[in-house]
């Protein structure tokens, strides 16, 4: 029993090492806010453990994490409805614990993201999952609970829209 707990903890740590960056990146693109993205990432991993406590089985960890993160992001926006996105972007740069390089990276991406904000959030999300998170169509389908076919079509349409935004 104790040994099993220990084993699970180790596996849990391994899972974190493997996916934490990807999930953080995913959240960062969605919320454009370092600290919020960090919190959501941590919450997503805590949800994994809570799910296991309830006796759940996770067959595809990656899809599970993205799905959880997506739900948390939706929750976040519901709560923060009143605040404008611009305000969030402004206080999104939290220099504590970040290297200079990271700050620049995140800032640049944040600015670029402002362009993507013009896209409907669904389109933005799916593009980020495909091209930034480098998820396969199958993984996206798993995370969004949609068929692979539907995901492919949505990516295609989102790309068309994005092109129009970048070429006025």
């Amino acid at each position: 029993m104790k040994k099993n707990q220990k084993y699970l903890e180790q596996e849990y740590a391994k899972t974190f090492d493997e996916y934490s960056d990807a999930i953080f990146r995913h959240c960062f693109f969605r919320v454009s806010h370092t600290e919020v993205a960090r919190d959501i990432t941590q919450d997503a991993f805590i949800k994994v453990w809570q799910y296991l406590i309830l006796g759940g089985e996770i067959l595809n960890m990656k899809a599970f994490l993205y799905k959880t993160a997506n739900n948390l992001i939706i929750d976040y926006y519901r709560k923060k409805k009143s605040e404008s996105l611009d305000t969030l972007c402004e206080d999104g740069f939290d220099p504590i614990g970040d290297t200079a390089e990271q700050i620049t990276d995140r800032a640049e991406v944040n600015q670029a993201l402002a362009v993507l904000e013009k896209l409907p959030s669904d389109d933005r999300d799916i593009l980020v999952m495909r091209y930034v998170d480098d998820l396969t169509i199958e993984e996206i389908a798993d995370a969004l609970d949609q068929t692979q076919n539907a995901v492919s079509v949505r990516i295609h349409r989102a790309l068309e829209k994005a092109k129009k935004i970048f070429t006025p």
């Binding site: 029993m1 099993n4 707990q5 084993y7 699970l8 903890e9 596996e11 849990y12 740590a13 899972t15 974190f16 090492d17 934490s20 960056d21 953080f24 990146r25 960062f28 693109f29 960090r38 990432t41 941590q42 991993f45 805590i46 453990w49 809570q50 296991l52 406590i53 006796g55 759940g56 089985e57 996770i58 067959l59 595809n60 960890m61 614990g97 970040d98 290297t99 990271q102 990276d105 995140r106 640049e108 991406v109 670029a112 993201l113 362009v115 993507l116 593009l127 980020v128 091209y131 930034v132 480098d134 994005a162 092109k163 970048f166 070429t167």
Partner: protein, 305 residues
């Protein structure tokens, strides 16, 4: 346009947690996990992490267990086990298909007789009141011996007679004689041991007397075990003699004889509980003598080839 989009995506890929952010987060997650241990661990444990990385291995193992595995496990089953039907009904039927020539058919029958012998010995040792099973197995052994003899005689008319002569060596009434004797012998080993003790000088206390009786029983049992081991080593010797033979025909005939001997000996031995030590040692002596004659006869048969 697309370049801008691509640049954005490329830049996005550089986004990651800093080392400090990562280690802080990990520490708090692990401490959370430690403070919230998983109780129903059995249901959660093997599947979630293991399955995703070893899905092929798991599927393969499952397949092996569901198909070939059961027949491998069945090989070690005995009458009364769930898989015994697979052993006799599937495994042996399939293996039997490989025996084509009458020689290999005879060999296969000997193997079957040998397997039933092992089973009947196992049953006798481990199951109580299994007279029916034992009788059924003995009947099967007889059947296998019969078919083996028939098969081997089909192509070895002349040589068959050589070893068949050995049968005369064995007191053919051994089984019947013994069983009639056994019925008349009433005193079991324990009783004999008690008798032996009572003839000794008066024991100092009743407890001491019991100890002596138990000691005697122990030595009696030990003698029986020793005697059986002797027979086993004699059987082993015959087997070595058979191994050294080059003619396949002689080998098979000799093996049939050995199986017969083992079958008869089992019947004698199986009545061990009802017999005295003297009887058992008689049977054992006779058996060893017979096995020795058998090996000699096998050696001679080989010489004449």
């Amino acid at each position: 346009m697309k370049n801008e989009l691509e640049t954005l995506f490329e830049k996005g890929k550089n986004i990651h947690l800093s080392q400090k952010e990562k280690s802080d987060m990990k520490a708090s997650l692990i401490s959370y996990a430690q403070n919230h241990p998983i109780r129903s661990i059995e249901s959660a444990l093997p599947w979630y992490m293991y399955f995703q990385s070893h899905i092929a291995v798991t599927a393969f193992t499952l397949l092996v267990f569901m198909t070939g595995g059961s027949s491998v496990v069945a090989e070690k089953s005995f009458p009364g086990d769930a898989l015994y039907g697979v052993k006799t009904g599937v495994n042996e039927q399939v293996l039997g298909l490989f025996a084509v020539s009458s020689q290999s058919k005879a060999q296969w029958q000997v193997t079957l007789a040998d397997r039933r012998l092992q089973e009947v010995e196992h049953v006798a040792l481990n199951q109580n009141n299994a007279e029916e099973t034992k009788n059924a197995l003995i009947a099967q052994i007889d059947q296998h011996i019969k078919s083996a003899t028939e098969q081997s005689e089909q192509d070895t008319e002349s040589e068959a007679s050589d070893i068949q002569n050995i049968n005369d060596i064995r007191p053919d009434t051994a089984t019947q004689k013994k069983s009639s004797e056994i019925e008349t012998v009433e005193a079991p080993a324990l009783f004999m041991a008690t008798m032996a003790v009572s003839s000794e000088p008066t024991p100092s206390s009743p407890v001491r007397a019991t100890e002596i009786v138990l000691d005697e029983v122990d030595t009696g049992e030990k003698k029986i075990v020793d005697a059986f081991e002797k027979v086993q080593s004699a059987q082993e010797k015959v087997r070595q003699v058979i191994e050294s033979k080059e003619s396949k025909k002689v080998k098979i005939q000799a093996e049939i004889e050995l199986v017969k001997a083992r079958r008869t000996f089992f019947e004698l031995k199986d009545r061990e509980n009802k017999q005295t030590l003297v009887d058992i040692s008689k049977i054992v002596d006779q058996e060893i003598q017979y096995l020795e004659t058998l090996s000699e006869s096998i050696i001679e048969t080989g010489d004449r080839e």
